[in-house]
Amino acid sequence: MIRALITTLALMLAGATSTVPAQSDGAWQPMALSDFREPSQTDPLQTLVWPDAIREANAYASRELKKDLKGKNAWVTALSARFEDKGRSIILSTILTRACESGANHAGAGVERSICPLRIVQIDKGKATILREDRGCYIDPPDASLPAQNQGDSVQARFDPVTGQIQMRAIIGGRLIADCSRSYPTR
């Protein structure tokens, strides 16, 4: 009962207080980073899009890493973009978990993408529906310790309001990463 109330509240708040900025103008925009270490009952990414992945990461941290999480979540991060379309919200997100395939672990390597779980969730009239599950690219937004050539790295998304299509791409070191390009219909 309490869970249902919380979910309803999350759905109501999803449009108003989401940490995911809404985009609908068709331009490429970097997907926003969310850090789930602080549990939230109102963040739709935590409550609607990735609750199972967060639970699994918490279980792994407790069981395998022997971590006392002290009421927090394990260090799970996600990228997301939200689009508004004819009264519905669409959230596109990729999440960094053990289910990802990451790049090289190597002294001579540079920044590489991870291929991670991807979900597209529609929130329409208070009802959340997973439209699509796939795998897509994840990279951390750059920090100051990275080389200058990586300061513009990002995973980007855009929504075509005419066709309802979501597109996704990644740029690392100023180059488009071929296996990160995705295109999904949402209607």
């Binding site: 790049g103 190597h106 951390d140 990275l146």
Partner: protein, 231 residues
């Protein structure tokens, strides 16, 4: 032996110079110089699968190859620690930042790497390599498997699909076979496997057959002896 060592040193030097000029190597916490044997010992005390531990000497060499035994080093772009885990894997397998990881003990770092390697073991590329035993003339040992996982299972799959070591090379030209060779070259020549007495350079595809076949156990009074006509 000498030639192999010189080649390995030249290879590592080339690798360091090949880093992007703007990548600023950073030292977190203390600088260490763990030997190949110390890294091997940490591998043997870790949660790594037993079949990979059976050739753990090459893994000590791999740690030397990646970091020179310096567990606090960040390469300036992605990778930190004794086995140079990338930042995504540091978060996933150690639940910490690259700085936090660099300050962990050698054993804690190796444990995180072992979890990553155990997960990578189940990927199609690794399974295929294990079945093959040798790949493009190279023995598939623990160092080779770890190198496959080090450079990324997707990249490794690309190499396996091509059937050649040259099927995948990173932007600096490093192949998985190069890495495995360097790991072997940099292992301790007097290496002691932890809880296993097999020789260092025996790989998962090289199961010992001679000792068992050449030295069958003596018959026991409890044995049931079956003659050819009784079958």
């Amino acid at each position: 032996m000498m030639t192999r060592t010189v080649r390995a040193v030249l290879f590592v030097c080339g690798l360091l110079f090949a880093l992007p000029v703007s990548a600023q190597r950073t030292q977190f916490c203390e600088r260490t110089n763990y030997s190949a044997q110390e890294i091997t010992d940490a591998v043997n005390a870790s949660v790594l699968r037993d079949d990979l531990k059976s050739t753990s000497c090459t893994l000590g060499g791999l740690g030397r190859f990646e970091s020179g035994g310096n567990k606090g080093i960040f390469n300036g772009s992605c990778c930190t620690g004794i086995f140079q885990l990338n930042t995504a894997n540091v978060r996933r397998y150690a639940d910490t930042s690259r700085e936090g990881y660099a300050c962990m003990s050698l054993q804690e770092q190796v444990d995180a790497w072992a979890r990553l390697t155990n997960d990578g073991y189940n990927t199609p590329a690794v399974r295929r390599l294990m079945e093959m035993g040798t790949f493009d003339g190279q023995r598939v040992d623990a160092g080779f498997i770890a190198s496959c996982i080090q450079l990324g299972p997707g990249n490794c799959q690309q190499m396996v699909s091509s059937g050649r070591c040259s099927g995948f090379a990173d932007p600096n030209g490093t192949t998985i076979c190069d890495m495995a060779r360097a790991a072997r070259s940099m292992s301790d020549p007097n290496c002691r496997e932890g809880n296993n007495t097999q020789v260092c350079d025996m790989g998962p595809g090289d199961f010992p057959t001679t000792p068992v076949a050449a030295n069958p156990p003596a018959p026991s009074p409890s044995d049931i002896v079956v003659g050819p006509g009784q079958i």
